[in-house]
Symmetry: C2
Subunit: 296 residues, 2 copies
Amino acid sequence: MSGGAVDPRLSINQATIKHADLATALRVTAAAGVQAIGLWREPVNAVGLDVAARMLAGSGLRFTTHCRGGFFTLPDGPERRAALDDNRRAIEETATLAAAGADGSTAILVLVAGGLPEGSRDLAGARERVRDAIGELAPDAAAAGVTLAIEPLHPMYVSDRAVVSTLGQALDIAADFDAAVVGAAVDTFHIFWDPEVLTQIERAGREGRIATYQVCDWKTPLPADVLLSRHYPGDGVIDFATLTRAVESAGYTGDIEVEIFNADIWADDPARVVRRTAETFGAAVSPHLAAVLDSA
Amino acid sequence: MSGGAVDPRLSINQATIKHADLATALRVTAAAGVQAIGLWREPVNAVGLDVAARMLAGSGLRFTTHCRGGFFTLPDGPERRAALDDNRRAIEETATLAAAGADGSTAILVLVAGGLPEGSRDLAGARERVRDAIGELAPDAAAAGVTLAIEPLHPMYVSDRAVVSTLGQALDIAADFDAAVVGAAVDTFHIFWDPEVLTQIERAGREGRIATYQVCDWKTPLPADVLLSRHYPGDGVIDFATLTRAVESAGYTGDIEVEIFNADIWADDPARVVRRTAETFGAAVSPHLAAVLDSA
């Protein structure tokens, strides 16, 4: 990376420009010189999967992940079955979009586990149901050529969003399955605090489970809505040098997404946000990348 | 425990009635039939240590913990030395208050590690400095007969309050020291989310490191100030049955503090708060206690 060039491994996760529709997201990402994008189901389904796939193909961008499946911590019943069926649709979408993206696209569906069911205090039970749900979905993912990426979320989201809280826990769940079918999402924001983070990144690499590497920053005070507490790389306290080198050393050579939930960034012009994302990624993350994109 | 009686192992942590001065805190705690109290340094020092010790003795209450020492993640320099000197004073206060409390009082100083120094991204370095600081303080604690209780705080506080984030990490630090001198604080709010929590509670018991067991509840959405997101036992999603039985099975037979930071509870009448604390403890925690107070 030298001055001004956009890192070829940078991918814009569409959530960073949440209020842009799919056409806008693809346009501003490509216009900034970014080569890859991760999409979200809602804007894809707003235009329909086939149209979305054609738009993606037309953009020339690589497709890196589909966000998101999961939310399957409910006990057996119609709601759980509906959630599993919805995940099966998400698997199909992922395969279709990966096929439509430019060479080097990856068919990865990010899974956010879901929180405790209403009225429940049984974290252990909810965690077992996550494992069971992945067991039900793994054959569908394998058939579609899709990798399910279990995303551990920061423990402040454990009760209402994701009962998978550490990379080690995600890897323990993934261990029951083929590494081509079930991996983990390594997101700096969610795991930087973990005293075991470097050990678990090394393990994730050794076990072939790093499905995607995502970056954004943490700083305090947290905003009133803690979901929106994510920042441009370099604007907070996360040590991207150490974490990025660990992910590289673990053998990850894929695209790297920036996924930011932040009300101020969402209110900004999407083209400017993508340019700023490329700049901050170039300053905070690119210097610590050793590998070249293996799929380029 | 039968209807209406206050659990003999309940201790009111003074932070639960933060705006009560020491005299009020002692009075409303004893008046509610609670037998024990954990104190905070600021209200103790507001009246002076000797006066505080006489007031505590006069209350007839057991003294359970002193809150709090720590905040020693700074690199070498005058500020770090001042923090260590302040911790030495806190050790002396702890010993004095434990001697003044009723039979069965315990000399435990709770340690909150502190966050990242301003401008730093070096969590690993800050964590090493915590270990070093405890190494400097351990001889003073041993000489005073005080146990230092390392408190892991929820990972949402990692950057600005406590770089010790899990019970396992606290035990790893404590392992370098005599178990009578350095233990851990087991607080449900901070560790309930941890997939390893039961394993680490069992380990803490086996290693003789459960210095204190503290309870309060977690629920979402978190308030704008996430420091104040603690609730009466039973008002949230924490499984007190499983965690309390684990702590009991690990051999803990001491007093159990309720420590709640919550703006609404702080705004309430302290006598009512203590009564409500005793009621909720009796409903959510007492049924899961097997052991009798060994020091009674």
